[in-house]
Symmetry: C2
Subunit: 597 residues, 2 copies
Amino acid sequence: MKVGARYLGGGRCRFSVWAPIQRSVSIKVVLPESIIISMDREERGYWCTEAHLSPKSRYFFNLEGDVDRPDPASAYQPEGVHGPSQVIERSYPWKYLGWKGIPLEEMVMYELHVGTFTPEGTFEAIIPRLPDLLDLGVNALEVMPVAQFPGERNWGYDGAYPFAVQSSYGGPEGFKKLIDACHGQGMSVILDVVYNHLGPEGNYLSEFGPYFTDKYKTAWGSAVNFDGPFSDEVRNFFMENALYWLGDFHLDALRLDAVHAIYDLSAKPFLEELAEAVEALPGRKRYLIAESDLNDVRVINPRDRGGYGIDAQWCDDFHHSLHALLTSERAGYYQDFGSIEDLSRAYQDGFVYAWRYSTFRKKRFGSSSAGLPGERFIVFSQNHDHIGNRLFGERLAALVSFEALKLVAGALIISPYIPLIFMGQEYAEDTPFIYFVDHSDEKLVQSVIEGRKKEFKSEGDPPDPQDPQTFLQSKIIWEKRKEGHHKALLDLYRELIRLRKAYPALSNLRKENLGIALEGDVLIIIRKHSRSDVAAVMNFAKKEASFCLDLQGKTGKKIIDSSDRAWKGPGSITPDYLSQIGKFHIRPLGFVLYELF
Amino acid sequence: MKVGARYLGGGRCRFSVWAPIQRSVSIKVVLPESIIISMDREERGYWCTEAHLSPKSRYFFNLEGDVDRPDPASAYQPEGVHGPSQVIERSYPWKYLGWKGIPLEEMVMYELHVGTFTPEGTFEAIIPRLPDLLDLGVNALEVMPVAQFPGERNWGYDGAYPFAVQSSYGGPEGFKKLIDACHGQGMSVILDVVYNHLGPEGNYLSEFGPYFTDKYKTAWGSAVNFDGPFSDEVRNFFMENALYWLGDFHLDALRLDAVHAIYDLSAKPFLEELAEAVEALPGRKRYLIAESDLNDVRVINPRDRGGYGIDAQWCDDFHHSLHALLTSERAGYYQDFGSIEDLSRAYQDGFVYAWRYSTFRKKRFGSSSAGLPGERFIVFSQNHDHIGNRLFGERLAALVSFEALKLVAGALIISPYIPLIFMGQEYAEDTPFIYFVDHSDEKLVQSVIEGRKKEFKSEGDPPDPQDPQTFLQSKIIWEKRKEGHHKALLDLYRELIRLRKAYPALSNLRKENLGIALEGDVLIIIRKHSRSDVAAVMNFAKKEASFCLDLQGKTGKKIIDSSDRAWKGPGSITPDYLSQIGKFHIRPLGFVLYELF
């Protein structure tokens, strides 16, 4: 069942809203003129009608003649989460209708937050930067949630209108313009969508129907009713939402936020139903990517093996292994990580915790993902969460040395998974990315501030999330990339991505072609291919180390060394050619690639 | 990790208890003499010690020098749920150690409640009735829960000591004696175990550790902590419990009560881990049978298809289809059933609701079980729940005609599933089976009574569950089976079970061999086999009906007709032989079997 206001052309608009607990629902048009339009109760609690209205009309739903509420499926909230919804024209003059999409296994993702990526904080302001990203080698833009949230500053996970594009970002038109521009330049666009909860401000859904359940708890508010009585229509709402983004917005993929908080014990879980529906879409292949804190292979297993058939999931274990190893941090979730063996396991299997005891979680955790192809996992050395969930939102560039940042670049980009770069990481951006909000409800603001303080109680006072300065401080400064160490890292990222695409051994993500060797602090990843193998030698020690490389009768030719002066390093000490077994030396935190042929 | 008191012989006993939240735990022996024995804190919150004690010693655990509590893993509570635990000798003079077990697919199950099956209400009193059950054809005795519950009258689902055998039933010795007697006569024994909650009275587990979680809710109290912090040891407790019954008690199978209330979002759910452990047991095959209200094929799917690998599950849909069709009842869960097509679907697939909209549940429900072999489902036309959950606990014999009872017998016994008979059903027992308890906590009694009243508010006042008369009224009267209609039905059941075992077409549970035809109120089930087919013709109308049978060139020979005078029917009107296609007549509610060869 379609939900929301669908403009049919010729001044006609079809409305439908699921409000089974209301005894009367009408449309209250407030712009361009004030009119009340009655609605008819149809099957399963839907209220529908068709009306004559111009496409920019603004309206509320009036519930039982009592309160005016925005449309839960509003496509646009020009006056914010409490204001009227606006009817939009669905048609858009798409220029690149023939866009074929980037296959998942070829993606190099770039996660950005619209508000802090540019000084303007809009979709439109992103467009001039696309050539820079393309030049870097990025071919998939992952946009943090854009669903209308309260105020103008938010990470996006407080969205209250899943179908509405944030007005301060440029609304639906702005987003379509960005997507079209990306497609025109050969870049896929992935949207982060939140189906596990709705933001606390401006969310009136429970006045319409049983969208939520108290059967389960989430960290962020009421759990969405995906498996209780009346859940069919709740599922329809979110299913329609996914299809809306993939359809009307031509998006290439959705990143499903925190699916572990989508509590659903149905015999056919919503995620499985969604994966089926997306798979059945005509035209180019669209992807679903889950964020999951379960390490449950069921999420990404194919459906004939009892899985949901989600295309890929974020691999936190890879991040945690790398981060804990390099920073020696052991607080919170990092206490489960820190050994180079963990990182080795992440390269080998994906999940480091595959039904192994987790000290952090105080229980055995995860299932084995061994044998799954590399494109089932998205890996990252930073992302909005792992930066922003820190007291001061420090990026890795503020925590580790420049040599370490280059090692991280190598470790990430040559991994047998899909790499994701968080905006700015490619040029060692060192501004923080801090948690920020812009609520209008003073009580809520206080509770967010208190919650934040409680989270970090032993560490100190966090920056005030509501303070506009917190937001402004989190904006990245694009100009930095032009010089010094920033530029050197950017150049290295660009070269690494070029190599990843150029060498079949690196672009092939089959795990059968993976070899791993561990010598002290040196981790060697060998990626095999019929043409030539590639070996990545990574020294995670802060001192020079030695390594042996089993050439298996082949000859090794150095492709790149992060210690090179070209990348503002101390100078490479690894041999340019390897022709026999021997002990070689590598710089502290060095990353070296050899082609073996 | 083993839990409880393990008597090692020679006056030595090893104790261990998981009490991570306690700062000191000691053993307070109260019989034969008063002693305090200190315990050592070991890894993961276990407290252990080895002591010199006689096997009949009674003890409490003393928590922080403060309160005395029975052992959560007590093997015996001779003085009830609040009294001391007793050390028992594990050895038992088993007579039938060579017992091989009945294969699941050959089982004919008989569910009984120890307290109401005999006047004595003990394990021992069951033994003299085993020859009668064997004579009926039953080869698997399913015993309703025996874990120590409060008082002497309880269905068993209020058990507070999962390892202790109800003292008033005869305790562990009595249960072993019954099991040994069953094995000696060629009968498997299945025990109903409750892992989704513990009874409200006498359950002190949360004083020991985080056995429970408030993350999820069950209808019967706190959910067990199967997936939260510290859940490894909670899982260990129930895992050890399952292995205790299958090991120390030589049980052949466990029936896992209400697994839908075992909330567990682990990447490796407890049920999967349990199925793996049971599969790995040496010796004869043991079975796990789930009761599940999810219609989720994942429970019984093999693990390489993402399932838990549980051997079988109870099929409520078969029961509901049959019950609603025959009684025309449409209240509660019966509102989803009533058409003969539903029953036909139950024969065909198992689950009638396979992601179909359920009016009762107000959502789509279930997944397809098509293609699974018949032994994955246990079917029944009555069981403790569907009788006892009625206001007056009426059995089918009090609701439908004698002819209908015979049709039910046929429909059940010739089904391509494992049939389960609820005690007394085989001889049309017409005493009720009412919900009864024997709590000592007056508040709890009132709340049970109120809960019961609320459940049936529109129907009337239910019998007082606490009143001993309610329990006594629920006892079956074994002597009835000797005469009149009771005897006729018993004879029919006996003959049907004999036929089920004698005809390969009936004992083969592969679904590939199933054919179904529906003509008005007549449902025809054809079971094919290379030797000869068997066709069951069932008239669900209360009037005479006609049917055609596609003989496919074969000849039909009547095997049995429930309308026969031999079964105190009005006399058969179906032909003894069928040699050509024609229209034949069948009595109201008639059940006829033909062999086709």
